[in-house]
Amino acid sequence: MKLYFKFFAMHLKSRMAYKKSFFFAVIGQFITTFTAFLTLYFLLDRFGSVKGYTMGECLLSASIMWISFPLAEWFFRGFDTFPGMIRHAEFDRVLVRPRSLIFQVMCQKLEFTRIGRLAQGVVTLAMGIAASGVEWTALRCLCLGLMILGGVCVFSALFLIYAALSFFTLEGLEFMNCFTDGAREHFAYPLEIYGEGFVKFGTYIIPYALFQYYPLQFLLGRAGAGFAFLPLLAPLFFIPAYALWRLGVRKYKSAGS
């Protein structure tokens, strides 16, 4: 853990060497998400509600995605550049060091500019809380926290899978973006909007629904308190992700030089 903080400080310092560029990147990140927010806002402003969800409820649901995704990206961005590490045989260096592999890849890169996106997510959450009229009890606050944590776990596990797959393909797989960036954009709305099939997919295959759709029902008072604890199941998604990663590491052959 101490080592991680050292890496954290190191990356922060190196990023701060170019303050202006960092500043612009943060603002850019903010604007990018802000346009997604505007899209959602204008659509709901025009139509009033969708499948029984009001503007406030959709904002609440979107903010879960828009907070947990940049958090996962911030800390697990190293896995995004991982295909490059394999191609350039930098992974060999990682293998000989006496630390856990995942830990080292995590330390490769920290994406501080995601704070711009995170800020947008927090703003959305505040607006969602104000507009949705949820009665906040202690359990509901806890549930909200669990939802965000669950989201961070699922997205981190997806990044891990992305990296693990590159053991087999040697190249980044663009279609994985559908499950990460695609989920951030499209599953910002409660999954139910897309139909029954997507809710099932989000429950059993990639557990988006466990940290967003089901607990949201509890927050909105449409389901019992049992749903509040479903995000706790989301970290189970790490198991298949980790298994795939292990399989990849075992199969790994250096690309040479």
């Binding site: 560029s21 603002i27 139509f47 663009e174």
Partner: protein, 267 residues
């Protein structure tokens, strides 16, 4: 002119080599289009009377946008050109007997055209095979198809003229990163890339429509499905020509003034 055209063809052929990347792109773009149509479908079911365009027109809009993304988006640049200004190799470009503006325009357009050629065919095929309310519909009428092609060409040129302005601001600021980070998401929204403009509040949609960005993706996609027809369509085409002229003029002026004070360092 002939030299520029040959150069353009050469760059298109060069760009056509990257096929694997194109396949990956096709899968992702198809998925995004599909999800987006599902979303609008849900809104349509919520209150059909507030839907600002025909549902079929919207579906065509989305599929066309996905298929032509590489040509119509606001964020495809030839990144090499930015580095050329930074590392001074722009000096080599200046030795050539054609104008810098013409060369770079041809090059950027070629990059977009080659990308779109690789990506649009599979998407067109799949999108037109998708069953009725979900698939790509035929154009409203033959005239709309003709004007769509014309408008598509103009939109692509307006887009490239916009990129040219960004390339040449590099002469003044060296790094264009800041401007790109801030401008591109805004341009994406204004050009109707994110959400078709009729879905915005009327006053805002009007501003966007008449802005230079309204002459990009917004124009051809709405002409195809008959959302813009008759007088509005003619007006749109004129607007595109107008903005192309203005953007080209700004880019050209930036180039000339930039070159006058350009200082290439190193040998």
């Amino acid at each position: 002119m002939k030299a520029l055209f040959t150069f353009f063809r050469m760059r298109v052929i060069y760009g056509l080599q990257y096929r694997t990347a194109a396949w990956a792109g096709v899968v992702t773009q198809f998925f995004w289009g599909f999800m987006e149509i599902l979303l609008y479908k849900a809104f349509y079911e919520a209150s059909p009377d507030r839907f600002p365009m025909a549902f079929e027109a919207l579906v065509s809009y989305i599929w066309l946008r996905q298929a032509l993304l590489a040509l119509l988006n606001t964020w495809t640049f030839d990144n090499e050109l930015f580095t050329k200004v930074l590392d001074g190799s722009v000096a080599y470009e200046l030795c050539r007997p054609t104008s810098l503006y013409g060369m770079w325009f041809a090059r950027t357009l070629a990059l977009r055209v080659s990308r779109v050629i690789l990506r649009c065919v599979p998407l067109f095929i799949v999108a037109s095979l998708v069953p009725a309310p979900w698939g790509l519909n035929a154009p409203a009428n033959p005239l709309a198809l003709g004007c769509f092609v014309l408008s598509l060409g103009l939109a692509a040129c307006v887009g490239v003229a916009f990129s040219m302005i960004l390339y040449f601001t590099c002469f003044y600021t060296l790094s264009s990163e800041g401007i790109r980070f801030m401008m591109l998401p805004v341009a994406e929204l204004l050009s109707g890339d994110l959400i078709p403009l009729p879905f915005l509040p009327v006053w805002l949609a009007n501003i966007f429509h008449y802005s230079p960005f309204g002459s990009m993706a917004n124009a051809p996609l709405r002409i195809y499905s008959g959302d813009l027809s008759g007088g509005a369509m003619v007006e749109m085409l004129c607007l595109q020509v107008f903005w192309l002229g203005v953007m080209a003029f700004i880019g050209w002026t930036l180039q000339n003034r930039g070159l006058r004070k350009l200082c290439v360092q190193g040998g």
